[in-house]
Amino acid sequence: MSKPLKQIHLAAHFPGVNNTTVWSDPAAGSHIEFSSFAHFARTAERAKFDFLFLAEGLRLREQGGRIYDLDVVGRPDTFTVLAALAAVTDRLGLTGTINSTFNEPYEVARQFASLDHLSGGRSAWNVVTSWDAFTGENFRRGGFLPQDERYARAKEFLATAHELFDSWSGDEILADQGTGAFLRDARAGAFVHRGQHFDIHGRFNVPRSPQGRPVIFQAGDSEEGREFAAAGADAIFSRYSHLEEGRAFYADVKGRLAKYGRRPDQLLILPAATFVLGDTDAEADELAREVRRQQVSGATALKHLEFVWNRDLSGYDPEGPLPDIDPLVSEEHISRGRAQVRMYRDPVAIAREWRELAEANKWSIRDLVINNGNRQTFVGAPATVARTINEFVQADASDGFILVPHITPGGLDPFADQVVPILQEQGVFRADYEGTTLREHLGLAHPDAAAPAERAAS
């Protein structure tokens, strides 16, 4: 007998500050008005998605010492938008990226526990780290953290937040109007944490929330990032949306769970994915090419090259050949506040490779950037896209996808209307929500159900 089909998890990332969002399209709306977020969230919920995801950045990006002005600039506060979205949705999970470097556990735990209460158990936290002094200039701490300590702090931050969430077991509130006992336990919320990064104690002031703890997401691909996720995350955002890479990453990360006493289904692997739909595959291919040209203007192409060359290339013609000078290798980078520059670890070799690639294909600077990056993950007619997504999931290259449309806020609508029904028909995606909390959508156990013996003993 064949294996039962895996169920696909789908989520949506509100497109914003990244180089794939096409703001110049006539269909592009506001990226900041609440109506855009509400539209996007309602579409995701109509399509029975697991959750909506918001990214975060705490300083405007700069390049060449000036604010980067070619992509969407500006975004709202994560918690505030997610809380407001809880009012216009009923089931959709609400996932926010919150930095563990420029926040404090007490405050963040309060906010996530509050969001979980206010959404009826739909909150999730994507834990990210930062260390750079550039972002630190907006905060009291400044740039205080050595790079190699960022995961140590993140780990302790998360552990501390869990101690705060667990400081209420969930049965303390009696609110008995007759006897006058509001609390069963005078010490509800008491906590003590003494560690290297946090030495705090006192009383946590938010009672246990519907999910007990928010769902924990983690992004990051380094060795430390993978261990961090394997040790404690419920889901990991990966950037591997190609089949073989995806399968390798999937096998690697899931293989790490056993040593933490966890089963493979306790950590979901969800790559970010983009898509372009057409009536036919050929039409979608054509449309995808157009979108890539919209995503990469001549000015954008030059700026993208500067990530590698690390010097001002504004004098070059984007429709001309690649610069014949070598990248500047320096501790100081022309681009600030952007994670992707770390991908280019050997810029001289990359520049050589790109020059050879451009010469062989007779590509201009802009052609190279268009062909080299930003290629959409899923391109085709709805049936093709549905089939491909299902193949990925059944082949254990992922447990599903976080879709990132290139248009705000309507870019998700075609996927919801055209692809989701096919997946539902095939029995690989839910026809309706079966639970009310995000943990239920993701098939994750409630934390209180995990250790009944421990609860009974306390």
Binding site: W23, I32, F34, A38, L58, R59, L60, R66, I67, D69, L70, D71, V72, G74, R75, P76, D77, F79, T80, V81, A83, A84, A87, N103, E104, Y106, E107, R110, A113, S114, H117, L118, G120, E137, N138, F139, R140, G142, W168, A175, Q177, G180, A181, F182, L183, R184, D185, A186, R187, A188, G189, D199, I200, G202, R203, N205, V206, P207, G298, T300
Partner: protein
């Protein structure tokens, strides 16, 4: 006359949760808060404030207690305000934010975003905390326990905390202005999404922290959301004078109100803001019933349940809506431009405010009969402020 209501748990009386109307089991649900704010909006009130703190509520002002007979625990006020924003249309939403231990960068974008999600109805009520246990929740500094409020140590601590709060608000306000209103240009010909000359570093350097800017969030719809604070003494009056649009004060009577106002107006002049509107609202805790006798009986009943008479910082009113209207008119005569009412029992006294007091004030021609503005600043008669950096940029061009 302007009217606001201060929401805190099931009400301001510590035994309020015992009342059948209180619904204490629902305090941690969105529906509870949506219902309260809808009731306030029904009464056409200017705004509601949401109390908050970085530790559990306590009968003691400076430390936690071990009581189990009162409401303990609460949700983050900014998130509560955000959660109800899409469900309301007119009423202002003013969560409490604590300036001590928090990051002005985070607060600025949170309130700016509240302004977006409420389309121009956001404000904040800034407060400090001098509680050593709350400092221990953050572990980044220790706060010495205040032994006597009139000691030089206590005065020094409180003055520092309020100075830090003033800097905090200054940073928040600068960040709101760090984007000019028309910074987003979407210029297809040059490929520029923003005009970066209209984004400004705030370069704040102060005694307590420094912040570079600009904000990650564009300038909010109101330009500057409402800034408010509660003040009982000269040091906080100075914070109002320097940074607030609305101050809440606690006069005992009309004469006291006059004295407070004189002091605030003098501070306002010293701060160089004499020309700007600074609303001063009187705070009153209210028991509203069909007769004074009933209101007093209710107060006595709640005091008995609590085991002691309730006393707070604000004057306690017991009586009818008409009697409260008389008192408000009298206090308004001293120069107060509005009132923030603290319902003793929210489930009882808030509907009395919206359904009895408001019609009474309307009959007297002292309160609006419809919402006549789309923004909170508009409701309060406050203009949308010019952007401080745009002005500087224009001057630089003129020179």
């Amino acid at each position: 006359m302007h009217l606001a209501v201060a929401l805190d748990g099931t009400g301001w009386h510590p035994a309020s949760w015992r009342e059948p109307v209180a619904r204490p089991g629902e305090l941690f649900t969105a529906g509870y808060w949506a219902g309260q704010v809808a009731e306030a909006e029904r009464g056409l009130l200017d705004f509601v404030t949401f109390e908050d703190g970085l530790g559990p509520q306590s009968a003691h002002p400076l430390e936690p207690d071990d009581r189990t007979d009162q409401v303990r625990g609460r949700l983050d006020a900014v998130l509560v305000a955000s959660r109800v924003a899409p469900l309301t249309r007119h009423i202002g939403l003013v969560p409490t934010v604590v300036a001590t231990h928090t990051e002005p960068f985070h607060i600025s974008k949170a309130i700016a975003t509240l302004d977006y999600v409420s389309t121009g109805r956001a404000g904040l009520r800034v407060r400090i905390t001098a509680r050593p246990d709350e400092a221990d929740h953050f572990g980044r500094r220790t706060v010495e326990r205040i032994r006597a409020y009139d000691s030089p140590d206590a005065r020094g601590l409180v003055t520092d905390l309020f100075d830090e709060a003033a800097d905090h608000v200054e940073v928040v306000r600068r960040l709101w202005d760090s984007w000019e209103d028309d910074a987003e240009i979407r210029d297809r010909t040059t490929g520029r999404f923003v005009d970066r000359d209209k984004l400004h570093y705030i370069d704040f350097e102060g005694r307590f922290f420094s912040v570079k800017g600009p904000s990650i969030t564009p300038r909010p719809p109101q330009g500057q959301p409402l800034v408010s604070a509660l003040a009982h003494d000269t040091v906080p009056y100075r914070l109002l004078a320097r940074q607030a649009d609305v101050g809440y004060v606690t006069p005992r009577d009309t004469e006291h109100a006059r004295a407070i106002l004189a002091e605030i107006r003098a501070e306002q002049e010293s701060a160089g803001r004499a020309g700007e509107t600074l609303h001063v609202f009187g705070d009153l805790l209210v028991f509203l019933d069909d007769s004074r006798k009933e209101a007093e009986a209710r107060r006595e009943r709640l005091d008995a349940l609590a085991g002691e008479p309730y006393t707070g910082d604000a004057r306690i009113f017991t009586g009818t809506a008409a009697q409260l209207a008389d008192l408000l008119e009298e206090l308004a005569g001293a120069g107060l431009t509005g009132f923030r009412l603290r319902p003793a029992v929210t489930g009882h006294d808030l509907p009395r405010i919206s359904r009895d007091l408001v019609p009474e004030l309307q009959r007297r021609g002292r309160f609006r009969t419809a919402y006549e503005a789309d923004t909170l600043r508009g409701l309060l008669g406050l203009a949308r402020p010019a952007n401080r950096y745009a002005a500087t940029a224009a001057e630089a061009t003129a020179v």
